[in-house]
């Protein structure tokens, strides 16, 4: 695991052979897991190795993974956002309302993303402005945002989205490569550059490792946190556009449970839940693994209950593995 706290404290670690540290890294472990699951899937089901099957598989994770990218940054700063799924519900409901008053496709997309940013800004204001703990605030807004959606819709639904809008969730850029997948890959690249190759990214890590020290070093901690919550709002809004387009309809129960799956992807991707470390590549790989596992087990008609047990165990195993490994190394040393 590339633990930045550790590299800070144990300077000699820097002198490690870069090849060796890359091999031992969390990401290479995830690559191995992904490959193993891919191979297991190909043997287990004759339907897996088919371009359309693989394309369908990506729909199982793209929307959640988009949120996970932003969630990773929030968690690296030591905060969390549990309201993301409810932001999707509210953004989707507002898009539905906009549709009722005759909004066209670009307008619908703007509404979805705009509502997402506003929700994120609201979270960010409560957390940085009023100094409330993010877990409390976002548990509150989780009920609040979805509650508004329920008030607007009740047991009704919005439907009749234009075909040009549906393309965002159902369309293909070329061959079997869906728009959702392309968008996810582009966003992943942007997040990778931002987190690992900009001052902003370095400050995100600094806040997660020691917010007080970061503040004394001149990092505007609250402003960065505020921006990050707006960013999860934005990505949730984007996910709302994709999901609404894919479902072709809005119901207040839309995207229920997405927040936990997004957090699972982030943690599985090697981001420390305590903040301070993590990589975007890890999160992308974790999203891929989740998609491979759920789709692979789905092809075998494994009941969903078994699937959740499997994902839960996978999470515990990959979290426990490096800790066990470290304990084993310490005992040897």
């Amino acid at each position: 695991m590339t633990d930045t706290t550790a590299t800070g404290r144990h300077l000699p670690d820097r002198l490690d052979n870069p090849v060796k540290s890359a091999v031992l890294s969390w990401e290479s472990l995830l690559v191995l897991v992904a490959l193993a699951i891919f191979i297991a899937n190909s043997f287990a089901s004759p339907y897996f190795l088919n371009e359309w099957s693989l394309s369908d598989m990506t729909f199982n994770f793209t929307e959640k993974a988009l949120i996970a990218l932003a969630m990773a940054l929030v968690i690296i700063t030591g905060e969390i956002d549990l309201s993301v799924a409810s932001i999707i519900a509210l953004a989707s409901t507002m898009m539905g309302l906009a549709l009722q008053v005759g909004a066209d496709t670009p307008m619908l997309v703007a509404v979805g993303i705009g509502v997402g940013i506003l929700c994120g800004a609201f979270n960010g204001f409560l957390i940085t402005g009023l100094k409330l703990p993010s877990i409390v605030v976002t548990i509150g807004t989780m009920s609040l945002f979805r509650g508004v959606a329920y008030i607007v819709l009740g047991d009704q639904s919005f439907k009749g989205y234009p075909a040009s809008f549906s393309w965002f969730g159902q369309g293909y850029v070329f061959w079997v490569i869906s728009f959702e997948l392309v968008l996810f890959l582009v966003c992943a690249l942007i997040f990778y550059v931002v987190l690992h190759h900009t001052n902003f990214g370095r400050r995100v890590f600094a806040i997660g490792n020691n917010a007080t020290a970061a503040r004394f070093s001149g990092v505007r901690v609250d402003r960065i946190k505020f921006v990050l919550f707006c960013l999860t709002g934005l990505m949730s809004g984007l996910a709302a556009v994709l999901l609404t387009a894919r479902l072709g309809s809005t119901r207040p129960s839309i995207a229920e449970g997405f927040e936990l799956e997004a957090v699972t992807m982030v943690v599985l991707g090697g981001v420390s839940i305590l903040g301070g470390s993590g990589t975007i590549i890890g999160v992308v790989l974790a999203a891929l693994i989740m998609g491979l596992v759920t789709f692979g087990l789905g092809l075998l008609n494994v009941p969903g209950i078994v699937m959740s047990i499997f994902i839960g165990s996978l999470l515990i195993v990959v979290i426990a593995l490096p800790i066990l490994f470290r304990m084993w190394r310490q005992r040897k040393a």
């Binding site: 193993a36 479902l247 309809s249 789905g298 008609n301 209950i305």
Partner: protein
């Protein structure tokens, strides 16, 4: 390495779980969520139909959480498996439409049952029953045990409940023609709330001393009314009937507060869904007016929206309540 052992074990488990798939017709019964007695019972009926027809591999599946998104993932994996037919009880009538349309484009026959999807997403929808049949059944349930006729009253859910109001209208329409000696004296509303339903049932008994039966076409109201009849020692004098969940209502059949109640039978529903799916796979066309055979349950005719009503609600009495109370 520990991880490889894990992966090897996973792969082995996965291969064990993969059942050979060489039966001639593969029909997937997709439910709202697994671990629900109602749907397990439907799967039992579906298995029965699959055995009767022969050469069918039945895939009983569904998500853990009853959401449209999770159900779409299930349908996606069924499309990839190139099943012949999907029979789905949908978590959302609209959100499943795009993915089911894709299934149809790839040559998979799609029907919905229990909870339907919009007509664009399926060929046939199978309702457990229809308004007319339910309206007639709830009166018949009371009339069967009142050979001399007499006063009956209806304890409904909310006065705005669309389903209940439609059933009550249908019941009122059928009384003069088929049950002339049944006298419907009042319709009261318990709002599907135990306390309010109890009060309303007490009020009925006080206001109509000759009342012979209380008909409650709601699972909440029927339990409340039966409890009132039990508490006031009116067993044998006032018969409670209506639509009830066997598991909730068994005690009142046992103690005699009720002679019989009715509800949809999930076993027959799963059974009929498989028959319809198989008929479509065999090339029968789904069009308004078309008639389909559904084995021992009988036959159904499609209406203008290609929907069909399976049968009148299934009756539960002393002879079968024990068995069904274990199911749902």
């Amino acid at each position: 390495m520990k991880l490889f052992k894990l992966m090897a074990a996973t792969a082995a488990a996965a291969i064990l779980l993969a059942t050979p798939a060489f039966a001639q017709t593969r029909i997937a019964l997709v439910v709202k969520s697994l671990g629900n007695g109602f749907f397990d019972a439907a799967a039992k009926g579906a298995e029965e139909a699959a055995k009767e027809i022969g050469d069918i591999e039945l895939i009983y599946t569904g998500p853990t959480t009853a959401t449209a998104e999770a159900q779409i993932e299930v349908v996606n994996s069924l499309i990839a498996q190139q099943v012949d037919a999907i029979a789905i009880s949908a978590n959302d009538p609209d959100a499943l439409v795009p993915v089911l349309q894709r299934a149809q484009q790839r040559g998979i026959k799609v029907i919905s049952w229990d909870s339907g999807v919009a007509p664009e997403g399926r060929s046939i929808h199978l309702n457990p029953s229809d308004i007319g049949l339910i309206g007639e059944t709830i009166i018949k349930l009371a009339a069967d045990y009142l050979p001399e006729g007499g006063d009956v009253a209806i304890l409904s859910a909310a006065s705005t409940a669309t389903n209940q109001n439609a059933w009550i209208e249908a019941a009122k329409a059928v009384i003069p023609e088929k049950f002339p000696n049944i006298n419907l004296v009042a319709t009261v509303y318990g709002d599907d709330d135990s306390v309010k339903s109890t009060e309303e049932a007490r009020g009925l008994i006080a206001a109509y001393p000759d009342l012979k039966a209380i008909i409650a076409p709601t699972t909440v109201g029927v339990v409340a009314a039966a409890q009132v009849v039990t508490d006031q020692n009116l067993i044998g004098k006032v018969n409670v009937t209506g639509l009830a969940l066997p598991s909730e209502f068994k005690q009142f059949i046992d103690n005699g507060a009720s002679q019989a109640v009715a509800l949809w039978n999930p076993i027959d529903l799963g059974y009929s869904a498989v028959y319809l799916a198989k008929a479509l796979v065999d090339g029968q066309e789904a069009a308004p007016g078309a008639t389909f055979s559904i084995g021992k349950v009988g036959e159904v005719t499609l209406d203008d929206t290609n929907s069909a009503a399976m049968a009148a609600p299934f009756q539960f009495d002393k002879s079968n309540i024990e068995e069904f109370s274990k199911i749902y």
